[in-house]
Amino acid sequence: MSKWLRENLWRHAFATSMCVFSLFPLYLVVLSSFKSGGSLQLSSFVPKEISWDNYKMLFSSPKIPYLAWVKNSMVIATAVAVSSVVIGAASAFAFSRLKFKGKKFGIQLLLLVQMFPAVLALSAVYVIMERVYSFAPSIGLGSQAGLILVYLGGSMGVNIWLLKGFVDSIPAELDEAAKIDGASPVQTYWLIFIPLATPVLAVVCLLSFIGTFNEFIVARLFLVEMNGRTVAVGLQQFVGGQYATNWGAFAAGSILASIPIVIIFLSLQKYIVNGLTAGSVKG
């Protein structure tokens, strides 16, 4: 056995088997989406036929308002991502750059509250939004605007925390220089900080978009109407029913919905990994 083989064989063997493990479910979904049938079964590793029926069904069947679902998900996730970054950036800037009383308390509160998992407050959010519905149905339970408000509030802590991490990594020399030149904090924020931080804000915006797109349980509880659902809820209901399992169409639908998310994710890989480790590795 050569030296190369001895040192590298296990590496390739292990990495390859993990790759197979990773790819198997994904490959199966792709296969199923091109198969006209209702199960996630593996009849052969090579597709025998390529049928576009499942994809056509998504866009033509009146029972599956797939396009409406995608639109809802896009609208909700975009609204949440943009607004939460606009609101969160200001708070993160203040936490990172301004000196004021109660700063330490604020950050600790932010951390503590995040440990109260969002799902646990679900019954409370439900009851509160039910009451909001009683006087303002358009922003209460069952409305997309209400869901956006809940997401926005719920993601505030995480986003401020995440943004603060990124903001800390932007050098402070420029805004200190602006301060010396007589700029007020508000001017420093708009004229120096925002132009500098735009790429970072865009990254957090996309991360927040992915997170909201992926959210399931609040959307499930909130959006009852068939046409008002998000992709995640719609597709889950589609295969969740005991007797109405149509995996082919589900496979097609989830592939189409996942592709943009996977692309965003892979292109932001570097930032995501940095964001994951920031704050913990440096200590």
Binding site: M18, L26, S39, S91, P117, F213, T245, F250, T277
Partner: protein, 512 residues
């Protein structure tokens, strides 16, 4: 560009924006107060006040940055948490969901009984001579006709009536029948109790039909009791949100109201064995599930990172494939796995040539949950570990090698301890995250298998959080009080785990 943020235009923009926001919030506050939601209304007033105060004065500059965030934070994070804690001290469940006033109203509406024969009459709705809502009733069996309003009952001579072929009177002097359009516009006429004899009244059951009822339950606000006028039974406020019969406290009038019961939801967790036994079972599985997940994802991630740490050929291709499970929207991939584990049509049995009913057996369901979570989680630790391996100074490893340590010893004595030290906060964070990994359990197994026929709420794969959800929303009875109590318990568990992790990561020290 910079002019936007200075001078008159900026002030103009500020005033317009604030005025708009103030107007919208005021409208909302007004309708909140109008429908009795004074807490929400008060919050909206508070929001208006603090917004205008902050942006029109120079009271505090940091506050100008914080105010929108703080308001959202209070409304959708702090308020639900406070509300959860309050709910956990209440008997707040299906049957005890409404306020006390609404409950009394409902009990009185339901506290009626039909007469002995369950008499029904044909009738026509309309107005009497004074314009009051009235009905023209035809007692066909008794050959009697009368006009009845809320307070009066007047017999009418059959000779003066127009009677149709079924023997039903359709018009009478002093009575104007309403047209269907008039009835549709009248929202109250069908709720009126039209007077009948002997304490009974006539209630409109359907178009043209009325039935005879009498009130049996009466409320005495002085003693806060309900009394059955006919039998004399007294129902006392039992202090737990119901009026209960004095002689048999199990018999309560429905619906009850949400009533404070202080720590009963908490003590129930310990004293009531029907709640305690499943809770302990679920708790053990939750810890086991979270620990095994962290262990397996970390082990596989680390091994991969080690395997691909050197310049192995094709490393970039491996990396982009291995990251895919992490990049996929997890809702989709969990559902895909659920389909693959299907006992009849799933790929897993298909490939293994087995017929295992994965989600019907506790052991197999748990194994499936762990396998799927490994798939979802190992890329995360692979990414983290390969980053951290690079951060270990190579001099250390070289020095050890020079001292004669073989690669295995270097790994066990130097690399692994260092890695664990660097990554322990992330391992703890991952434990805390999986402790509450609701999506996985809910979408993959739904917490099952569970024996619903025996009234079991906790399934074999239920973790604390999915169990809580099950109590709050999963069954016919929604018990928000008990669910909130468990939520508060979980909060303390997770907070102490995370606090420990934070202290380790020294984040706490870098504040300020």
């Amino acid at each position: 560009m910079s002019g936007i943020f200075r001078g008159k235009f900026a002030i103009f923009l500020k005033i317009v924006t604030l005025a708009g926001v103030t107007a919208i919030l005021s409208l909302l506050a007004q309708s909140a107060f109008a429908s009795g939601e004074s807490a929400i209304g008060a919050f909206l007033i508070f929001a208006i006040a603090i917004l205008n105060f902050t942006y029109f004065t120079k009271f505090s500059i940091p506050l100008k940055f914080f105010v929108p965030g703080i308001l959202f934070f209070i409304a959708f994070v702090i308020a639900p948490i406070v509300f959860t804690v309050i709910m956990s001290t209440f008997n707040y469940q299906t049957g005890n969901y409404i306020s006390k006033d609404a409950s009394i109203e409902q009990v009185l509406i339901l506290g009626v009984e039909p007469d002995a024969n369950q008499t029904t009459f044909d009738l026509v709705s309309g107005k009497d001579i004074d314009g009051n809502d009235a009905v023209l009733v035809s007692d066909i069996a008794g050959k009697k006709f009368f006009i009845s309003t809320k307070d009066t009952i007047t017999d009418v001579d059959a000779a003066k009536l127009t009677i149709n072929e079924y023997g039903v009177a359709t018009s009478a002097p002093g009575f104007t029948a309403s047209s269907p359009d008039e009835l549709a516009a009248n929202t109250t006429y069908s709720d009126i109790r039209y007077k009948y004899k002997d304490g009974y009244y006539i209630k409109i059951e359907a178009q043209g039909v009325g039935a005879v009822f009498r009130q049996t339950i009466a409320y005495d606000s002085k003693t806060d009791t309900m009394k059955n006028i006919i039998t004399g039974d007294v129902y006392k406020n039992n202090g737990r949100g119901n009026f209960a019969l004095e002689s048999n406290p199990q018999k309560v009038l429905m619906p009850g109201w949400r009533s404070p019961i202080w720590f009963e939801n908490y003590t129930k967790l310990v004293t009531d064995s029907r709640i305690r036994t499943p809770l302990i079972k679920v708790f053990i599985w939750t810890v086991l599930f979270a620990a095994l997940t962290v262990l397996s994802t970390f082990a596989f991630g680390l091994l991969l990172a080690l395997a691909l740490n050197r310049k192995v050929r094709g490393r970039r291709i491996y990396r982009s494939i291995l990251i895919l499970p992490y990049a996929m929207p997890s809702v989709m991939s969990i559902l895909i796995w659920a389909g693959m584990f299907d006992s009849e049509f799933g790929a897993i049995n298909n490939i293994l040539h087995t017929h295992i009913a994965w989600f019907s057996s506790a052991t197999f369901a748990r194994a499936a949950v762990l396998l799927v979570n490994l798939w979802l989680g190992f890329p995360y630790f692979y990414l983290i570990c390969s980053g951290s391996l690079q951060a270990i100074p190579s001099e250390l490893l070289e020095a050890a090698a020079i001292d004669g340590a073989n690669p295995r010893q270097v790994f066990r004595r130097i690399t692994l301890p260092l890695l664990l030290q660097i990554l322990s906060p992330l391992l703890i964070a991952s434990f805390a995250y999986n402790f509450n990994n609701f999506n996985l359990i809910y979408l993959l197994t739904g917490g099952g298998p569970r024996n619903t026929l025996d009234g079991e709420i906790a399934g074999a794969t239920d973790i604390l959080i999915s169990y809580t959800y099950q109590i709050a929303f999963g069954r016919n009875i929604h018990d928000f009080g008990l669910a909130s109590a468990i939520s508060v318990l979980i909060f303390f568990l997770v907070a102490s785990i995370s606090f420990y992790g934070l202290r380790k990561s020294k984040v706490m020290e870098t504040f300020g």
